[in-house]
């Protein structure tokens, strides 16, 4: 047979290779893990009214390490898993210049307040009724947690529940940086 058909005989099975490579790459990446373009940039300012009526504004927390946690009472089990860790971190670090702020995402007042009572959360917690803050932080699902340094820059974003280890691991270096 001619050289042309010999090439064709190889070319057709070989054409499968790039497809397989693409599939192998595609199946290895987690489509739910979306890199946030906000990490490394100044965190968006926000001012919300907390469940207890107090004002929570990022501006007033400048100079402190801020942990902003987006959560919802309907977010089971992830938000329930991380809830005790958040309160523990708040208790451990509140006197060392760390503020934990909860932002309630797409929730109703009653179940949200019940959640806070259930876990005895004492850190500032506010609903985001218009969804502005959540969009400003590029939230696409709860729980999501941002770690903001003393200069007001978003330094790390965690999608999914946080643990005691992760909180410590992220907070300690930001504290060590100084103002």
């Amino acid at each position: 047979m001619s050289g042309c058909s010999r090439i064709l005989r190889w070319a057709i099975p070989l054409a499968v290779v790039p497809v397989l490579v693409l599939l192998a790459y595609g199946f290895r990446t987690d489509p739910r893990e979306i890199p946030s373009p906000l990490v490394g940039k100044p965190a968006s300012r926000f001012a919300l009214t907390a469940f207890d009526g107090n004002r929570v504004a990022l501006e007033s927390l400048r100079g402190q390490v801020v942990v902003v946690n987006f959560w919802a009472s309907w977010c089971y089990p992830a938000c329930y898993e991380e809830a005790p860790s958040l309160e523990r971190a708040w208790q451990t670090y509140k006197d060392r210049g760390v503020v934990v702020v909860g932002v309630n995402f797409q929730d109703k007042d009653e179940p949200a307040k019940r959640f806070l009572t259930q876990f005895g959360h004492t850190f500032p917690n506010a609903p985001d009724p218009s969804g502005r803050v959540s969009v400003d932080y590029g939230v696409y699902g709860v729980p999501e947690t941002y770690f903001i340094d003393r200069k007001g820059r978003a330094r790390f974003k965690r999608v999914g529940p946080v643990s005691d280890e992760l909180l410590k691991q992220q907070i300690e270096p930001l504290l060590a940086e100084g103002a």
Partner: protein, 149 residues
Amino acid sequence: MSRFAVLAVVVLAAGARAAAPVSEETVHEVAAQLRCVVCQSLSVADSPSETAHQMQAIIRERLAAGESPEQVKAYFVERYGTWILLSPPRQGFNLVVWVVPFAGLGAGLVLVLVLVRRWSRRPAPAAEGPRPDAAMRERILRETAEREP
């Protein structure tokens, strides 16, 4: 005085821009290009979710403030990355999505052309035999006549 006039014009212009009515068509057009962040493969325009409604409100508000549809999209891309766009931007690795289908189609057409040309060029089968001579012709006629009733 002229400085005040300029200021007045600027303020009026800004006021006029802010007050410009936003057509729902434009809101829909932008919303249709953005991914509803809490959904699976739904645009902000198509999703009935609370989040999508809030995103539409943000789109409407930003358009009303005088931003162009492109600027509004850029606002979301800044926060969510290009993931928020339902059709991937035509650059970098994403080009694969735009180029491969057409390249595949082209390659297929070329393959078909090559094969068709090769098949049509193949020599016609069975060359003609020798032409019958006078004796043969006579024999054929005779035998045909014999068979006919």
